[in-house]
């Protein structure tokens, strides 16, 4: 299973990368947060030797192999909610998440 970006998310990431520079973005899962695990979303300046690499709408997505099982099949979306806007994970592996959506269990 792969990782994908929505058209909207990809457009956003591309424009951010244009301004900032970097080879792509990195998704990861950390063991922390109120429900056990948390997402991390970062710019990537370099790829590690073990990183899995996905391409979606012209954006390179890097994921370390330990995070991959928890993220497999995830679609990253960019949404606007009122004045606030940001990225949202649509992750089929999630069984439960805390109210804020930053932390989850599989």
């Amino acid at each position: 299973m792969s990782i994908t970006l929505t058209e909207n998310a990809a457009r956003r990431v591309r424009s951010l990368l244009e301004k900032r520079g970097g080879i792509g973005m990195r998704l990861a899962v950390k063991t922390s947060g109120c429900s056990g695990m948390a997402y991390a979303l970062e710019f990537a300046d370099s790829a590690g030797p073990e990183d899995c690499r996905f391409e979606s709408h012209g954006v390179t997505v890097l994921i370390d192999p330990r995070s991959l099982p928890y993220l497999s099949g995830t679609e990253l979306d960019f949404v606007r909610e009122g004045l606030n806007e940001g990225f949202k994970f649509n992750n089929p592996n999630v069984k439960n998440q805390c109210g804020c959506g930053e932390s989850f269990t599989v």
Binding site: V79, L83, F87
Partner: protein, 636 residues
Amino acid sequence: MALLQIAEPGMSAAPHQHRLAVGIDLGTTNSLVASIISGAVRVLEDETGRRLLPSVVQYPAPGVAPVVGVQALAAQDADPRNTLSSIKRLMGRSLADVGPLQDMPYVFADAAGGVGIRTAAGIKTPVEISAEILRSLRLRAETALGGALTGAVITVPAYFDDAQRQATKDAARLAGLNVLRLLNEPTAAAVAYGLDNGSEGLFAVYDLGGGTFDISVLRLTNGVFEVLATGGDAALGGDDFDLRIYRWLLDSAGLDDLPPPETRRLLTLARRAKEALSDADYTIIDAQAAQRDIRLRLTRATFDELTVELVQRSLARTRSTLRDAGLAAGELTGVILVGGSTRMPNVRSAVRDFFGRDALTNLDPDQVVGIGAAMQANVLAGNRGASDWLLLDVCPLSLGLETMGGLVEKIIPRNSTLPLARAQDFTTFKDGQTAMSVHVVQGERELVSDCRSLARFELRGIPPMVAGAARIRVSFQIDADGLLSVSAREQSTGVEAAIDVRPSYGLTDEAISAMLRDALQSGGVDAQVRALREAQVEARQLIDATETALAQDGSTLLSPHERDAIAHALYALANVVETGGPDSSGALRAAAESLNLATQDFAARRMNASVQRALAGRRLEDLAPSPAADPMRSAA
């Protein structure tokens, strides 16, 4: 659910621990808030998409929440007394400081610690009014960023003094903002252009706003900006350009002065015409005034002619500020334009001609200060790597030394910008004193016991000298990281001792504000206590000196009767020092005076005796400047 932003590599925050930081440009006319979102700077908008918040607050009635921004600005004509604008000019000022304010239609009153303005909702201070503006920006930021703010960087004019900076900080605290730092506006502009990434340079920041003009000269060395000179004109801005067009309109249409509502409408048209001329070579002004239709064509050439005097005035200020900084226009490595009025082509070309180089203009001049503040806030909140630390801080409380009598001698006043170094000379108190204890304290109070002790160390190996002869230079240095080091050096022998301290370490904001409050409230008491302690110290010095003199020469130079008189005065003074209460500073001075009087003859005789001793057994020619020419020589 929370929406995520992209972080710098390795910097993603744990859930619920996002460090949301904003930069706020708290302006005289307009304010704005900006933040770094997914690595890019964004000036945050309100619900209607506006970025600039007019710095206007209306207090419509008692118990009614104040109105801030566009709605308040709209209410200014209808409710001028309760609608407050340009409040920044009053920050940290007392009524005496600001002088007569004919252009402000407010009812002024004295408030605790400064100017107050009487409104429908009671007396409001500039701090409270600014806090309303800041609160409005904070709410905007929290809605847009989806969480509570970790902190904010707020910009202030480079010429703001301690009181004005402190007032700005107080306003932020009142608005529920944690101030990460106050940043000088020209420095923020330089940061926005990334000039801090270079290692050194000299920059001029030309800031022509709506009503004020500021020119600052900055020097960058090792990533730290230093303000070399500031200047400007508090009554020169975009509004004056509008006024020139308005006058021209009246002249061209053959009109006399108009009633206020029509004046205001024409001024708005004048502003639009000015803005249009930034892109076009001419513009048509269609207006109705005095029951007439007016249609006029204003060319850029005419506009330039109308306003050339205003532009020249700004350049004259620029020239004198450069002179203050000891620089020539050609020596600068960069020029930055700030403020919406620098969009005018005639201003740009005049600045270019003056400095002989193109100015940096690619960022929006209305937003550049806020953008720089946001970038700095992002670094300070810890959202970037430590290598990006750029520190331009002020020290929150005064730093000083304990002197005799438990008094504080302030060496670095609070709100001094960092980094800095200050030195002051001290001396010994007792004859033959060979060591000195250096006690570093922090706070605004006059007595050591009311301030916070930071560090203590001793300087040993001072050569024995009479009291007051040794010269010990104590230097305070605070580097860009806020680290204080204190060193003491005896000037004649070069013996030295030093210590490192962290001045703000362990002091919470509450503690700082409590100390400041304390200092303000007890200023009068402190002055009394200080006077008493000083009198006590002087008295002890006098007692010591008299005792030494009595022991040396008392038996040879004084009759028993005289000796008794001195001893009596001495005892009386010692008695007041030991037993005198808190009100005894007058009694101390009187007792010291009578001891002085009693020893006057004794002192004169000692002086004679020591001169005699020095001259005893020496011939006159040994003392004369040129013995060879002295005719007495052969006779002897």
